[in-house]
């Protein structure tokens, strides 16, 4: 069984996930809508997951893929908690624009 990376190259996976990760970062900074920000974070995590799998193939080692499971669990947990916080903010504030969260400063 040939290593698929011989055809694509690990670098390209790295670049892909770096760009994807950067897009996630961009999203977090660019958007004021909390939900989209969450989504951006998910994109970041997924970029890393993708790289994990690529590395797993690179090393021909399953641990990387196992780690992705944990990463998914973490993502899920984060989203759950994040959305819970978001909901309570929405209840109090009636909006989920993170620019409105500027009471704490100075």
């Amino acid at each position: 069984m040939n290593n698929i990376l011989n055809q694509i190259g690990i670098e390209n996976y790295i670049f892909l996930s770096v760009i994807l990760f950067s897009i996630g970062v961009f999203g977090v900074l660019y958007r004021r809508n909390a939900i989209i920000v969450f989504m951006s974070i998910e994109i970041m995590l997924n970029a890393v997951n993708l790289l994990f799998v690529a590395f797993s193939t690179y090393h021909q080692d399953a641990e990387g893929q196992v780690f992705v499971f944990f990463s998914m669990a973490v993502a899920a947990a984060e989203v759950a908690v994040g959305l819970a916080i978001l909901v309570s903010i929405f209840r109090n504030l009636g909006s989920i624009t993170i620019d409105n969260l500027k009471n704490l400063k100075g």
């Binding site: 390209n12 998914m72 959305l83």
Partner: protein, 179 residues
């Protein structure tokens, strides 16, 4: 060594990778760019699917399936649910100040360029990628690793989920007001 896709002599795998990568990046970008949260969510789902495609390309079938189930199935539904619940639509988002956009673009470019520059600068990986030929990513193998070697983290992940669960409950539970 940088593999620049040579479209003339591209293998199928390479072409698929390029297409998938393009889709991934585009949808990721659109997720962020789209004004309507629901559109964003849908783009994100597509993005996740394309990532699953990458997994499949790398022959990680089980992971691809789990990925789709967890992300597209669970997480995205959670997102959509919340969006619906809050009845958000595009008008709700306030105008972004220019400085914010600028900052975001600067960050994006910086992080992108810095990391890529480092990787380009660094010593390239030489030689063939080894392939042991052993099965390392079938469900069986993964299951063994997960429940043998990684038993403790696996169990500990349950604590993580438990905490998230309690947390979510704690944050949304109405209190009995005790006077």
């Amino acid at each position: 060594m940088i593999h620049i896709p040579d479209f003339a002599n591209a293998t199928a795998v390479q072409i698929i990778f390029c297409i998938l990568a393009f889709i991934t990046l585009l949808t990721a970008f659109l997720t962020i760019y789209s004004r309507n949260p629901i559109h964003s969510a849908i783009y994100l789902v597509i993005c996740f699917f394309s990532i699953a495609g990458h997994y499949l390309l790398l022959n990680a079938q089980f992971l691809a399936i789990v990925h789709i189930i967890v992300y597209s199935g669970a997480i995205m539904i959670l997102f959509l649910f919340t969006i619906m619940l809050m009845n958000l639509n595009e008008q709700k988002e306030v105008h972004k100040p220019r400085i914010t956009r600028l900052g975001a673009i600067v960050s994006f470019c910086l992080i992108c360029l810095v990391l890529i520059a480092i990787f380009i600068n660094s010593k390239p990986i030489v030689g063939e990628y080894t392939a042991t030929g052993e099965d390392y990513q079938s469900i069986k193998v993964l299951g063994k690793i997960l429940l043998n070697e990684y038993m403790v983290p696996f169990e500990f992940a349950s604590i993580l989920l438990l905490v998230a669960m309690i947390g979510a409950v704690l944050l949304s539970k109405k209190e009995k007001i005790e006077k």
